[in-house]
Amino acid sequence: MSVETLVHQEVLVVRLHGDLDHHSVESIRSEVEKALTLGGYRALVMSFASIDFMDSSGIGLILGRYKKLKEMRGAMALCEINPSLEKILKMSGVYRVLPVFPSEREALAHVKGVL
C-alpha cells in the first residue's frame, strides 16, 4: 500500500495504491491528515484508480475524512471507483453523502466549484 498526494491549486488529491485494509489504513489516514493540516486545505479528492483490494476499513477512512471536511465547511469528492468498490460504497451509503466521478479531472472541477 502506498499513498501519493499532490496539490491542484487549493485541492489536495490523494491517490491510493494497493490494498486498503485495517493494517494499511492507519498509515494512510495519518498521511492524509498530515497533508490536510500542513497545507491548511479545505478540499479533498480521493482517487481509487490503483486500489487492488478494499474492505470496510476503507469506508471508515472515507467517512472519517468526510466528517472532518464537513466540520471545516470544505469539499470532498471520490473518483475512479471500480465495480467491486462501488458495491461496498453503495452498501455503506457513501454515494448518498459524497459525489463520485469517473475521472480525477471531473472530481477536481466539482470540488473547486463548490469551494
Partner: protein
C-alpha cells in the same frame, strides 16, 4: 471455540490456518483462502467477495476479539462440490448482543473510525453468514458461498 473437519464428513478438500492476531496477517489470510478457493474456478467477482468477507472477519477477530492484544485466529475452509464453507474463530472478548452487532453501521469502536459495515458486507457477499459468540470466550463466524456455474449446489 474449536472445531475439526472429521474425515468422515463428506468434504472434498479443506485447509486449516492459524496465526497470531497481528494486522500484518490480514492480507495473508485472505490471499491464502482465495488461492485455495481458486480450485473451484470462481469468477474474479466471486473471489473478490470471498476475500473481502474473510478480511472483515479476520479484522474483527483482531481488533474486536483480541482488542489488539496477543491471541490466535483460526480459519478453516472446506469445499464440497461448488460450495465453500469458511469459519473464522477467535478466543477473544466475544459479543454481548449479536443482533445489535449485526446491524448495519453499528460499531463499538467509532474511535478507531470503524464503519460498522463489516457484518453487512459479509452477509451481502456470501450466501450465508452465521455468528456464534460467548462473551469472554470468543467468536466464530461461518461463511458459506456457492461459486461457479452450478446453482443446483446449495450450501449445506
Amino acid at each position: 471455540m474449536s472445531s475439526r473437519v472429521s474425515p468422515s464428513v463428506a468434504v472434498e478438500n479443506y485447509i486449516r490456518l492459524q496465526f497470531p492476531s497481528k494486522s500484518e496477517n490480514e492480507s495473508f489470510a485472505r490471499v491464502a483462502v482465495a488461492s485455495f478457493v481458486a480450485q473451484l474456478d470462481p469468477t474474479l467477482e466471486e473471489l473478490t467477495e470471498i476475500k473481502t468477507a474473510v478480511s472483515e472477519a479476520v479484522t474483527n477477530a483482531i481488533i474486536h476479539g483480541y482488542e489488539n492484544s496477543f491471541g490466535e485466529v483460526r480459519i478453516e475452509c472446506s469445499i464440497l462440490d461448488h460450495t465453500v464453507k469458511i469459519t473464522i474463530e477467535d478466543d477473544g472478548a466475544g459479543i454481548e448482543d449479536i443482533s445489535v452487532a449485526r446491524q448495519p453501521l453499528y460499531t463499538s469502536r467509532p474511535d478507531l473510525e470503524r464503519s460498522g459495515m463489516g457484518m453487512t458486507i459479509m452477509e451481502t457477499f456470501m450466501d450465508l453468514m452465521e455468528l456464534e459468540s460467548s462473551p469472554g470466550c470468543g467468536t466464530r463466524v461461518t461463511l458459506v458461498k456457492t461459486v461457479g456455474d452450478d446453482p443446483s449446489q446449495q450450501p449445506s
